[in-house]
Subunit: 308 residues, 2 copies
Amino acid sequence: MSKLLIVGTVAFDAIETPFGKTDKILGGAATYIGLSASNFNVDSAIVSVVGEDFPQEHLDMLAARNIDISGIEIVEGGKTFFWSGKYHNDMNSRDTLVTELNVLADFNPVVPENYKDSEIVMLGNLHPGVQMSVINQMTEKPKLIVLDTMNFWMDCAWDDLLAVIKKVDVITINDEEARQLSGEYSLVKAAQKIHKMGPEYVVIKKGEHGALIFNDGNIFFAPALPLEEVFDPTGAGDTFAGGFSGYIAKHEDISFESMKNAIIYGSNLASFCVEKFGTQRMESLTKEEIIERLKQFKQLTQFEIEVN
Amino acid sequence: MSKLLIVGTVAFDAIETPFGKTDKILGGAATYIGLSASNFNVDSAIVSVVGEDFPQEHLDMLAARNIDISGIEIVEGGKTFFWSGKYHNDMNSRDTLVTELNVLADFNPVVPENYKDSEIVMLGNLHPGVQMSVINQMTEKPKLIVLDTMNFWMDCAWDDLLAVIKKVDVITINDEEARQLSGEYSLVKAAQKIHKMGPEYVVIKKGEHGALIFNDGNIFFAPALPLEEVFDPTGAGDTFAGGFSGYIAKHEDISFESMKNAIIYGSNLASFCVEKFGTQRMESLTKEEIIERLKQFKQLTQFEIEVN
C-alpha cells in the first residue's frame, strides 16, 4: 500500500441550505479528503494549520482513522480558518457569506519527515504557492501528484497556479473552472488544452452530472448517483478527490483502468457526503454501505449490448 | 420485428447557431424520429401533415428508408409547418424566432389501416389532443406507447396533456420539463410523481448530461458522448426517442434490460445528430459508424471493480 500525503485546509464551516443551517462545524478540504480516503485504510497524513480554538476531539477523530496529524500545525493564540456560505434553492450555486483566513494567511506547510517519500500526493484546494511548497519538500519523486483547485486562484494567483499545474499528474476541477482555465467551452477541447499545461490526466467534476476523466484520447465517465435529496453539497468535491486518491494509494496502480475505478469510488463517496450537513455522514459511513452503493453504481451504468 | 407507428411534425426549420445559419431545411419531430429508427430496419410509418410546398424529394428520402409515408397528408394549397430558432453560445438554450403552424393548425391525424395494429407507438412532440387521437385509432392495444412532449403543452394544454400521459407506458421529457410537470426539483422525486400520473417508465433527457430511465425503483443512466463540437442540437431529443423506440421495435422486448440498451442507442444516435445542421448527419449515417460509436459508449461507461 502506498503512503498518501494530503495538504489542504482544516477549518470551521457555517452552512445554510434550504433544509436548515449550522453553527461553526468541522470543515476544510483536507478534512473531507482525509475522511474519504480513510475508507481505504491507507497510511495517510494531513498537512494543514489550525488555531488554538480548534477542538482536540476533531483531531482525535481524524487520528482514530489512521490519519497522521503530526503535520497539522496548531498556532498558539491563532484562530482557525472560517468559511460561511449559503446555498441557493437548486443547490448548484452558493454565496460566500464570510471568509476569515485567520491562521491560513501565514500558513507555511511542513511535511512530516516520514511522509516526504509518500508515493501519492493529494494537493487539496489551497493557494498554489502552498501546494508547490509541499511538492518541493518531497525527497522522493511521488508516483502520482493530484491537484485540486478552483476559480478563485485563477482570478488572483494565475502564475503560481500555472506553475504548480505544470508539476502534477492529475488535475481535478469543475466544468466551469475547466472552461475558465482553458478558454474552451467544449470540455473535450478544454481537457486537451489542460493536458498541454502539464497534467497527463484531467478530471472534470460536473457535480450532480458526474465526472469525466481524460487521458490521451481516452475518456471515462462516472455519473453522480441520482439522489432524492441533496442535503448539503459542502465537501463533495473534496470527498471525490479523497476517494480518487485513496483508491489509487490502496491499489498502487496509476493506470487509466485504475483511475476509472478511482473516479467511480470518488463519485460513490461523494454521494454519501451530501446526505447530511458537513462531515456528519462521512463520519458514520461503513464499508458495507460503500459496497452496497457500488452495486447501485453498477446497476446505474453497466449494460450488455450484443453488437451484430 | 414489431411495427413502429410514429406521429409528429414533418416541417421546415431555419436554424442559427454560433457556427452558421441555414435557410429553410427539412425538420420536424417525426422526421428525426423516423430517420433515427430507420437504422434498425424496422417496419415504420409516419403520421403527419405537410403543405403543397413540401418537396417530394424529402418524402422520397423517407420512403427509401423503409418508412411508410402514406399517413403523411399533403394539404392542397397549404403551407408546411415552419420553425425558426437561434441557439445561444452555450448551445443549451435557444430563442424561437418564428413559429408558423400553417397546416399543423388543423391537423387531424389518420393512422393508415395496416398500422392500426402497430405494436410500438411513438408519439412525437405535438398537441396532446393529436397524440390522443392516434392512440384512439389503434385497433389492437399496442405493446408499448412512448410519449415525447415539452413545456409548451404544460403551459397551454395541461388537461389534454395529463389525459394522454395517463395512457402511455413511457414518457420522455427533459429535466426542466420533468420538474415543471411534477413540481419536484429532485429528478428522482420528479420521476416518482410522474410514474403516478400513468407511465411505468420515465425517461429524463438532460441534453449534454445524458439521460436517465426510471422504473419501479430501478434507475439506469446513459451519458451523452462528450463531443469536441456540438454543431446544431436541433432534433437531438427526437433522434434519441427514435433510437429508443426503434431499438424496442426491432428487439420486441419491453423489459427494463431492453430499455437500458434502448437509451444507450438513443444517446448514440443523438450524438451524431448534433454534428451537422438539421438532418444532414442522420441522412449520411452508416451502420458501421453506429457500431464504432457503441464501442466508444462502452469505453466511456464500463468498468470492472472487484468488490472485496
